[in-house]
Symmetry: C2
Subunit: 400 residues, 2 copies
């Protein structure tokens, strides 16, 4: 299929004036011969407003009812955008998640896409210039409406692109991808090309532009992904296969995650089941942990890891139930620490990145409490008070 | 199936406080062992607000996009009501029109129900106490979302009741059905029981409580229909089969239609095709005409009828195109007239109603320009200035 998927997020469609601007840009592209699949989120703060309404009605609403309510937001956006596009003479077909055959599995509010009805979309695109699809939503095996969880509309867009094997352009109100947060390091350079693995590390390690699952889908299907700023002439970022990127640096970016918890558990026994009990709990609470280090010696068993700050409540529940099983366990949860990561696939064959980083931190008097490395990244847990200094120093050293 | 369909209209669900009151009443009924199917409209003025938004975006929006937008209103109400019910411990399943398998045909915004998936609803009712269904909406053969037009949520409720062969209770903010409009005749008595035919005549002739199509469905399937006031202890009105009504009067009600046009067409030819051309036009414009009288004599051809005031624009278009075909035709459209109707199935076997009505109008100096009779009604076109006096006088004469 010769088409493209374009996705516009909540603040890009925050008002009718903004939707009209997007519609005019789509009209231009249609007139130059393109066929477009457009995925949109709910307008502006609609989803938050609906959630606020729910909070006044129930402290524990059922997820199927919440998903049913939230999905009206995207349904309204696709209606409005379609009405404006038709008014501009663009033949437009609007489709909700279930109409586009976006089948999901898993919980109602953290659903994952199982399949998409490519035929429904392709046959619509044969009769219309633009197919507008509601992001963030799908339908499960029981015919119930579901939502895809965080970054859901991005996932819808990338999954559609993967299913149809066409490129995907994601537009947000962010200016573009930087090698590190320009609020921390003003000399940070823009990244115009990055490969899937690096982008996944950047996202996972705190550069919150795209959810990792989106990049994963794009990678698995070799779908070129473009990150651009809505209604901006500025060049965005292409996320693509390594082989298509010409210039390469050892370090592509530096990510900082300030909102995390650093957890250390200690138990004076070597034959502990702690790690198994712990993983079972994290699994059932659907909480991800990162930077796992385990040390067993004659003194006992020690485990360190990091958890997202947004999972504080779940972490508390998990540790409480673990403490009941492991009475001798000593727990330390630190919220005054941050994770700084150096990312670059150049590390694979360019030596010296790790040693340069370790030496620099030492020379700058920035202590670190834990470090983990992957093939293309190195992460350090440091004191939060040192985070800005660490980013500036490393960005300077690696010339990003 | 041992259950009931309950329907709550827009003003009954105009705010969360009102929805909560309804939820508590449903909870009580569930606790006393009932199983309920609840149909709700969009909250308060939601539909109007969405239509206003559309008007700022396009002067001629496509009906499929409008229907897609409007149906989010009912979807939000079913979500909110379900969340509140679950919070009260009532096991609740929410269903949109398409989830309830409400299949429609015809235009996107004046759809008619072709079928309902009784199995989907019954199996939901087996696992839940209440099934909450979005009114006013369905899905057509192409899988597109449609709306049912005026009185759509009532139609959803009655059609569901008919499909499942169970009674239907319709709750509005109106106090109940009166023998005539109490604003015109303060002594008007309440009607507690009325048969389908009378109710259809009442509705068709101007007592705008229920759309005639709803009563027609109820009649065809012998579904008892109850009209009640939301959150009121007051007794409502049962619409049912003649045989179940114990006490009967000759005249059940008097209806007034003030918003109508009285049209007279004259053509000095006896062999006119006027009436055929006219009906073709009314059909293609989807305009209903009423009180049709035709006179042919040596002087020519004369046709009188009434049209709803809301169809003024279409009437104008129709008459323009008819005038082109019939150059000698003389047209008179009067907007200063009203239609007053006497309704009662007692007329079938109680004599004297018609003569009593004619004599009373004559004695009261109320001229009428046209009259038509059905088996259970008599209608008069009178001057609008006499409408209140006519209703008062007739109500008094027939002791309603």
């Amino acid at each position: 299929m010769d088409a493209k998927v374009l996705k516009f997020g909540g603040s890009s469609v925050g008002g009718f004036d903004k939707i009209r601007i997007i519609a005019e840009q789509l009209q231009e592209r249609i007139q130059s011969g393109e066929k477009l699949i457009v995925v949109v989120s709910a307008m502006g703060r609609t989803t938050d407003e609906l959630l606020t309404n729910i909070n006044t009605l129930s402290s524990a609403p059922k997820e199927d009812h919440v998903a049913l309510l939230l999905t009206t937001g995207e349904q309204q956006t696709i209606s409005y955008l379609s009405i404006i596009l038709e008014n501009l003479g663009v033949r437009t077909k609007a489709m909700t998640g279930y109409q586009a055959g976006i089948k999901t599995f898993g919980g109602h509010m953290k659903s994952r896409i199982a399949n998409i009805d490519q035929h429904a979309i392709e046959s619509s695109l044969a009769s219309y210039d633009v197919v507008v699809i509601a992001g963030f939503q799908g339908v499960n095996g029981e015919g119930e409406i579901t939502t895809l969880g965080r970054g859901g509309s991005d996932t819808t867009a990338v999954a559609l692109a993967a299913r149809c094997n066409i490129p995907c352009e994601i537009y947000t109100d962010v200016e573009g991808l930087y090698a590190t947060d320009p609020r921390l390091y003003s000399a940070a350079s823009r990244i115009y090309e990055i490969n899937y693995d690096e982008m996944m590390e950047m996202s996972a390690l705190g550069a919150g532009v795209l959810e990792t699952r989106c990049i994963e889908i794009a990678k698995n299907h070799s779908i070129p992904l473009y990150l651009g700023q809505t209604s901006s002439e500025k060049k965005g970022t292409w996320i693509m296969q390594e082989t298509e990127i010409i210039e390469r640096k050892a370090v592509t970016g530096i990510a900082l995650d300030s909102n995390m918890m650093h957890v250390t558990l200690y138990e004076p026994r070597q034959d502990s089941t702690l790690i198994f009990d712990l993983f079972k709990q994290f699994d059932s609470h659907e909480v991800n942990i990162d930077m796992i280090s385990q040390v067993i010696n004659s003194g006992g068993f020690q485990l360190s890891f990091t958890v997202k700050g947004t999972d504080a409540l779940q972490l508390h529940e998990i540790l409480e139930s673990i403490e009941e099983m492991h009475r001798e366990m000593v727990t330390e949860v630190r919220t005054d620490r941050a994770k700084v990561s150096i990312i670059g696939s150049g590390m694979r064959d360019m030596t010296g990145v790790a040693s340069k980083a370790f030496i620099s931190l030492h020379q700058s008097d920035i202590p670190f409490y834990q470090t983990t490395t992957s093939e293309i990244s190195i992460s350090y847990v440091i004191d939060k008070k040192n985070e800005t200094r660490a980013v500036e120093m490393l960005a300077g050293k690696f010339n990003i």
